[in-house]
C-alpha cells in the first residue's frame, strides 16, 4: 500500500462520523418554498408562543394542556393529522408549515398568520427535533391528486353512494352532523374522546377549506384519530365524486349544494335515505 492510498483510506474513515451525522443535521432544518428554517431560531419562538400548550418537551404537557380539548399535539410521537402524505408516514415541511399558518378549526390551536413566514419555518424546524423519527425516516411521498372532475348531479349521486358504501355515516351521521351510531364511542390514539367532523358547522375543515384539502383529508386520513385513510379503497376520480357530495352536507351556497337542492326538489321521492336501512355495509 502506498502512502497516498493509506492517506485516502484514513480520510474516508475520518469522514464516516460526519456522513452519518448528515440526516440529523437535516432534521434541524426545514425547507418550505425558498425559505430555510433553523431549529435554534425556532426554539426561541416555541418558548414564547407554543410552550404553554405543547410543553417544554413537546409532549403536549404544557401548563394549559389539562384545560384543552382536543389535547395539543404531542410532537414526540411525530403523528400528525394534516398531511399530504400517506397514513403512517411523516408529513412534509410544507404540511407542518400549513398547519401552523392555518391553525385548527374547532380546537384551541389558532392561526399563526401574525408570525412571519420565516418564523413559521423556524418553528417547523424546531418541532421536528422532538421525535427521533425525523432523523431516521423521510417524509412520505405526497399522494397524487388528479385534476378535479366536473361538478355534475351524477358525480354528487355517486359520491352519495360512496358515503353510504364506505360507511362514512357510521361516525359522521346520515346528514353529516357528526352524529352517527359510532360517534359517541370515538377516542383518539391517547384514549381521549373525540368528535367526528360536523359538516353543517361551517366552511372550514381541520386541514383546510378547498376541495383539494377535502380530497386529501379522507385519502390520507387524520393520523392519531379514528379517521382512517381511504386511499386504498377509493379510486381517484371516485374520490372527487365523494368531495362533491360532502359539499352538499355543508350549509353553504355552493355549486354542489344548488345542484343537489334542485335535484331533491325534482326527485325527492326516489332518494333513498342514508343509513343502516339503505343497504350496503349491512
Amino acid at each position: 500500500m502506498t502512502q497516498k492510498q493509506m492517506l485516502v483510506r484514513l480520510a474516508l474513515i475520518a469522514a464516516i462520523p460526519f456522513l452519518a451525522g448528515l440526516p440529523s443535521a437535516f432534521a434541524q432544518e426545514s425547507h418550505v418554498g425558498n425559505l430555510t428554517g433553523h431549529a435554534n431560531e425556532g426554539k426561541q419562538l416555541y418558548r414564547r408562543y407554543c410552550i404553554g400548550c405543547h410543553g417544554p418537551e413537546g409532549d403536549s404537557n404544557g401548563e394549559n394542556a389539562p384545560w384543552i380539548d382536543p389535547k395539543p399535539r404531542d410532537f414526540t410521537a411525530a403523528t400528525f393529522k394534516c398531511r399530504s402524505t400517506p397514513t403512517g408516514t411523516l408529513p412534509t415541511d410544507q404540511d407542518l408549515y400549513n398547519a401552523v399558518q392555518r391553525g385548527f378549526v374547532t380546537t384551541n390551536m389558532p392561526s399563526w398568520n401574525p408570525l412571519t413566514p420565516q418564523q413559521r419555518v423556524d418553528l417547523v424546524a424546531y418541532v421536528k427535533t422532538f421525535s427521533p423519527r425525523w432523523k431516521t425516516e423521510k417524509p412520505g411521498t405526497p399522494i397524487n391528486i388528479p385534476a378535479e372532475t366536473p361538478v355534475t348531479i351524477e358525480s354528487i349521486l355517486h359520491g352519495r353512494e360512496l358515503f353510504q358504501k364506505m360507511e362514512c355515516w357510521k361516525c359522521h351521521g346520515p346528514s353529516g352532523h357528526g352524529d352517527g351510531p359510532s360517534a359517541a364511542t370515538l377516542t383518539d390514539s391517547k384514549d381521549n374522546p373525540i368528535r367526528p367532523y360536523n359538516f353543517s358547522t361551517g366552511s372550514r375543515f381541520k386541514c383546510g377549506e378547498t376541495n383539494q384539502d377535502l380530497y386529501r383529508i379522507f385519502m390520507t386520513g387524520l393520523d392519531g384519530t379514528p379517521m382512517p385513510s381511504f386511499a386504498d379503497v377509493i379510486k381517484p376520480n371516485d374520490a372527487w365524486d365523494l368531495v362533491h357530495f360532502l359539499r352538499t352536507l355543508q350549509t353553504l351556497r355552493t355549486q354542489e349544494a344548488t345542484l343537489w337542492k334542485n335535484y331533491q326538489a325534482a326527485h325527492g321521492a326516489e332518494i333513498k335515505p342514508i343509513g343502516p336501512d339503505a343497504g350496503g355495509g349491512q
Binding site: M166, E167, S182
Partner: protein, 239 residues
C-alpha cells in the same frame, strides 16, 4: 506509526471474521416448553352487544365476550406470548405470512405474534366496513379503512413492539400485534401450553407476555438437544 496502526486494525478485522466463521453452528435442537397458568381470581369476561352491527351480531349464536383475560381448564391462561427476549440471534424474516382476520366483528386471532419484517396480511371477512387502526408508538401509527369485499392489506413492522389494534367503528374490537425480534416464540392455546423448538444450546431469557398482566421472565440454560420444562404463573386480579 501509521503503518503499525493499520496493521493492528487489519488484524482486528481478521480476528473478528475468524471467530464468526470459524466455529461450526451448534445443532439447533433444544426445546423449552411448559404451561402458563394464573393464581387468584381472573375477571369475568363481559358479553359484547353487537346490536349496532346486525351483520356481525347474527354470526354469533351466543354473544361473544371481551378477550383480555381468557382462561382454560386447570387455571390455564390463553393468548400468552412466550418468546426468547435475550440470547437469541434474530434471523431473517420468515416468508410465511402472518394472517389477521376481521370476522364477526372480532379479531382472529385475538393476539397475533409475528417477526420483525414478516409480511402481515389483514383480511376483512365481514359484510361491513372496518377501519384497522394499530396504535403503534415505536413503529409508525397508521389507520386504514377496509370496506366489505376489499383486498387484504399487506404490511409489516420494522421494530419490535406490542401494538394494540382497534377498530374505531366497532369500539368493542380489540386485539394485539406482537412484533418480536426472534423466530422463537409461541402463543398459548386454551390449555395454556407453549413450546419453543429448534433452539441452539445456550443461555436464554424467556419472557411471557399477557396483555393485562404484563410480562414475566425466567433464565434458562439449554444443552444441545435438551428439552426443558418452564412454567409461568400470573397473579390474576378480578378487575
Amino acid at each position: 506509526m501509521k503503518r503499525n496502526l493499520l496493521l493492528l486494525l487489519a488484524t482486528l478485522v481478521l480476528l473478528v471474521g475468524v471467530t464468526n466463521a470459524g466455529s461450526p453452528a451448534p445443532p439447533a435442537t433444544a426445546t423449552v416448553s411448559g404451561k402458563v397458568t394464573y393464581t387468584g381470581t381472573p375477571p369475568k369476561m363481559k358479553p359484547i352487544d353487537m346490536a349496532k352491527e346486525p351483520s356481525c351480531a347474527k354470526q354469533h349464536a351466543t354473544p361473544v365476550t371481551t378477550e383480555n383475560v381468557m382462561t382454560g381448564p386447570e387455571n390455564a391462561l390463553e393468548f400468552v406470548v412466550v418468546y426468547i427476549s435475550a440470547g437469541d440471534t434474530p434471523g431473517a424474516a420468515p416468508t410465511e405470512v402472518a394472517r389477521y382476520d376481521q370476522k364477526g366483528c372480532q379479531y382472529i386471532p385475538h393476539v397475533l405474534p409475528m417477526q420483525v419484517g414478516q409480511v402481515l396480511q389483514i383480511f376483512n371477512d365481514d359484510q361491513t366496513s372496518h377501519n384497522i387502526h394499530p396504535l403503534a408508538k415505536v413503529n409508525p401509527e397508521w389507520n386504514k379503512s377496509q370496506p366489505a369485499g376489499s383486498a387484504p392489506i399487506d404490511t409489516k413492522y420494522d421494530k419490535p413492539e406490542f401494538i394494540p389494534v382497534k377498530c374505531n367503528i366497532h369500539p368493542w374490537m380489540h386485539g394485539y400485534f406482537v412484533v418480536l425480534n426472534t423466530a422463537h416464540y409461541s402463543i398459548t392455546g386454551q390449555d395454556g401450553s407453549f413450546s419453543l423448538k429448534g433452539l441452539p444450546p445456550g443461555k436464554y431469557t424467556l419472557t411471557a407476555w399477557q396483555e393485562q398482566y404484563g410480562t414475566q421472565t425466567q433464565e434458562v440454560t439449554l444443552a444441545a438437544g435438551e428439552t426443558k420444562a418452564v412454567n409461568f404463573a400470573f397473579k390474576a386480579l378480578p378487575y
